[in-house]
């Protein structure tokens, strides 16, 4: 199983929705540079474990919606397939809330409902 630790491999302070928010750790950056490539590299029956709470204190809805829901919204992968490929883990029980919200945002996203235009350098 592939493993991605958000706190160690991305940022301990994920925030903001777009590159243009200039946080350096936006949902768009997380999705385009980390989540999407890793999902694409998975074998057919392989899962991606994402560790939610190592060094991270909290997430905003704007980050999670763009980072995870955006995978479906921009047509990269369907909701059910993405959910079957992800394993969201944590050791702090508080993060069960964020896991549930990620599942909710992925499930609610409409597949390929928007064309992706990068906000980098905007």
């Amino acid at each position: 199983m592939a493993i991605f630790n958000i706190g160690k491999d991305f940022s301990t302070d994920p925030q903001g929705r777009y590159y243009s928010d200039e946080t350096g750790s936006s949902g768009e950056e997380f999705r385009e540079l980390h989540l999407k490539p890793r999902i694409e590299l998975l074998e057919s029956d392989e899962k991606l474990e994402i560790i939610l709470d190592d060094g991270v204190e909290s997430y905003g809805s704007s980050f999670l919606v763009e980072g995870f829901g955006g995978m479906v919204k921009y047509g990269y992968i369907r909701s059910d397939v993405l959910l079957s490929k992800l394993q969201l883990t944590f050791s702090d029980e508080d993060f069960a809330f964020y896991r549930d919200k990620i599942v909710e945002y992925i499930s609610a996203a409409k597949f390929n409902s928007k064309s992706y235009v990068s906000t980098k350098n905007k």
Binding site: Q15, G16, E57, S58, S61, S62, V65, F97, D100
Partner: protein
């Protein structure tokens, strides 16, 4: 139970005149000890119940205070166009919400927590999270949003009313 004990003690006292007074004495002592243990047991359970109810009320009041604090932070954040305090407010909003959900979970795990109240409060926590930290939350150049502020204020007021009701019912 007390009347039965009294009858037994009377019988023991009468029987002291007859032979076998040692036996009567032992029975009397046993009955007295049984009575004392029953009283102790009742008192212990009674005080445990009172302490549990007091802890539950304290938990509900803390939740109430957290919701109030969360509302104030959100109104300050969403009724401004972003400024020096934006980063600090955003962090405090996220962490305060995390505390609200933590306490809600603790309350929800109590066996005595009403199922409907538990469900309503978890729904509030989920909705308020989307409202307060969604949209262009933490976005550069974000604008103030009166509609967000209004929605958050209303939802928090509803939650506080629910908590006050639970505190009142707990006291009855």
């Amino acid at each position: 139970m007390l009347s039965q004990q009294n009858e037994l003690l009377s019988a023991i006292t009468l029987s002291l005149d007859k032979s076998g007074w040692v036996e009567a004495l032992v029975i009397g002592i046993c009955v007295a000890i049984a009575g004392a243990l029953s009283a102790y047991g009742f008192t212990w359970f009674h005080w445990r119940r009172l302490e549990a109810e007091a802890a539950k009320t304290s938990l509900l009041r803390q939740l109430h205070d957290l919701v109030e604090a969360f509302e104030k932070l959100c109104l300050e954040y969403w009724l401004s166009n972003g400024g020096d305090r934006d980063a600090e407010l955003a962090i405090r909003i996220q962490i305060t919400h995390r505390m609200i959900h933590k306490y809600a979970r603790i309350f929800g795990n109590l066996q005595s927590a009403p199922a409907l109240a538990r469900e309503r409060f978890f729904r509030f926590s989920s909705q308020i999270y989307d409202e307060a930290t969604g949209g262009d939350f933490q976005g550069k150049g974000r604008k103030l949003s009166r509609s967000k502020a209004n929605t958050i204020a209303r939802q928090c007021s509803d939650a506080r009313a629910l908590l006050n009701e639970l505190v009142y019912r707990n006291a009855l």
